[in-house]
């Protein structure tokens, strides 16, 4: 596996983007707070790109931009014809519908057609592994069960670019291992994965390339080890 991503096909490019949030600065005054000031990087097909940075440097904002949920105030996000989804644990579950119905609903919101979901229903059910509860209304689920169902649907939704925002803390130990294996599978697959975290260990284990964001700009990007060393040096 090439470690740089060079020579590969572009999936999403981020070009000089800046994002500002409104912040209340007084009773009537509002000021702009620039969460991201000038960030550019490319995401290639099939690579696993890590984004590292401390809390509040705009990692989640970046994921929202990549997923197309938000538009930047400056610069642009160029999507080279890929579908990018946040791997989430429950996309709009309707509490009084059953797990099966919610799987259809949430799969459709993640961009599948109803037939595609129905065709995969057995897999989704098997993966979620919540037994008879699958045909029960979701409001009777424990939060772990909801997360299992959500994760199962998300995994089967099969987007080109998977955006991961430090999940994996769901379910019991068994399911945690299963989901972490699923993510490792994703990482090994031909899909692009963007992994946001502030845990260096996770990045070291999974990523091909790392982007370090600090103070609204890309502090460094490139080989995981080099960037991580600098990151840890910086935050000593």
């Amino acid at each position: 596996m090439t470690r740089t991503g060079n020579g590969r096909q572009l999936a999403i490019s981020i070009e000089n983007i800046a994002v500002a949030y409104q912040r209340r600065a007084g009773f009537f005054r509002k000021e702009k707070f620039w969460a991201l000031k000038d960030v550019s990087f490319d995401v290639y097909h099939g690579e696993t790109l890590g984004i590292i940075g401390r809390n509040g440097v705009g990692k989640s904002t970046l994921l929202r931009l990549l997923a197309g949920l938000m538009s930047p105030d400056k610069g642009r996000v160029v999507n080279h014809g890929v579908s990018a989804t946040l791997l989430s644990l429950q996309v709009g579950f309707v509490q009084h519908l059953t797990g099966r119905e919610n799987a259809i609903l949430s799969g459709m919101m993640l961009g599948l057609s109803q037939n595609e979901i129905v065709a995969q229903m057995d897999n989704i059910r098997g993966y979620a592994d919540i037994g008879e509860f699958f045909d029960q209304p979701v409001h009777g689920y424990s939060s772990g069960m909801q997360a299992r169902l959500g994760f199962s649907v998300a995994i089967h939704a099969d987007p080109d670019v998977v955006l991961l925002d430090e999940v994996l803390g769901v379910g019991d130990a068994l399911f945690r291992e299963k989901s972490s294996n699923a993510i490792k599978d994703l990482v090994r697959s031909e899909k692009s994965v963007i992994l946001v975290s502030h845990q260096p260990a996770m990045h070291r284990q999974m990523c091909d390339r790392l982007v370090w964001i600090e103070g609204g700009v890309v502090q460094d990007a490139g080989e995981v080890k080099t960037v991580l060393d600098k990151y840890q040096q910086y935050h000593k």
Partner: protein
């Protein structure tokens, strides 16, 4: 509903023979409007969890609210028609104007609802104003009094409220068996259409900006 009946028919003794039908028609139509507008105003912030996870064009949310309330209204409206027939009104050819009235009301609600849904996320305090405004409108829409019996200058102001004219015309059709006031409906239509266009434009314009403020 029975409270209204008690107050206005029994206590105030204002009931003509038609009073129950008069009241019911006004209330059923108003309820449709009242079930749509405040919910439209809230619809984007209510779906914050969804908006943060997947991209959904935001005009879907007010459309969803209005569709939902329309389904409920249609059921109640059929019951109202049955009630009217049961109490001695016979369906006449003017009832064919009802779909036009409903279509117009739908347009009015979509126009107001979409504009509000686009503005409220930026000015959340508006919600309070809207709730109170709905109560105010409720009293000004001629639900338990006949607007056409008001003094002429007052009437001009009351008819600025689109629901007043619409409710009035439902009654004209259902209770009096006459055709609706087409010029008035035409005016409501021609004001609502740009309203809907504005709402559509705002929802598109801020489609990917709402996520920052909710």
């Amino acid at each position: 509903m029975s409270v209204f009946y008690l107050i206005f028919v029994v206590v105030f003794d204002r009931g003509g023979e038609d009073h129950v039908a008069f009241l019911l028609t006004g209330l059923v139509v108003w309820k449709w409007f009242a079930a749509s507008i405040p919910q439209c105003a809230n619809c984007i912030s209510v779906n914050v969890g969804l908006i943060r996870q997947v991209y959904i064009p935001k005009y879907v949310f007010p459309a969803m609210v209005v569709t939902n309330s329309t389904m409920k209204f249609l059921i109640v409206f059929v019951l109202l028609l049955l009630f009217l027939i049961f109490t001695g009104k016979s369906p006449s050819v003017v009832w064919f104007a009802l779909p036009v009235l409903m279509g117009l009301q739908l347009l009015v609600m979509l126009a107001i609802g979409s504009v509000l849904s686009a503005i409220v996320p930026f000015v959340p305090d508006l919600k309070l104003l809207i709730d109170n405004g709905m109560t105010l409108l409720f009293f000004m829409s001629g639900i338990f009094f006949d607007i056409s019996s008001a003094s002429p200058e007052l009437k001009t102001y009351l008819y600025l409220n689109p629901m007043a004219g619409i409710i009035d015309n439902y009654r004209a059709v259902l209770l009096d068996g006459v055709w609706p006031d087409w010029p008035l409906l035409g005016t409501v239509f021609s004001v609502s259409l740009p309203g809907l266009a504005l709402g559509w434009y705002l929802l598109r314009r801020f489609d990917r900006t709402f996520i920052k403020v909710i």
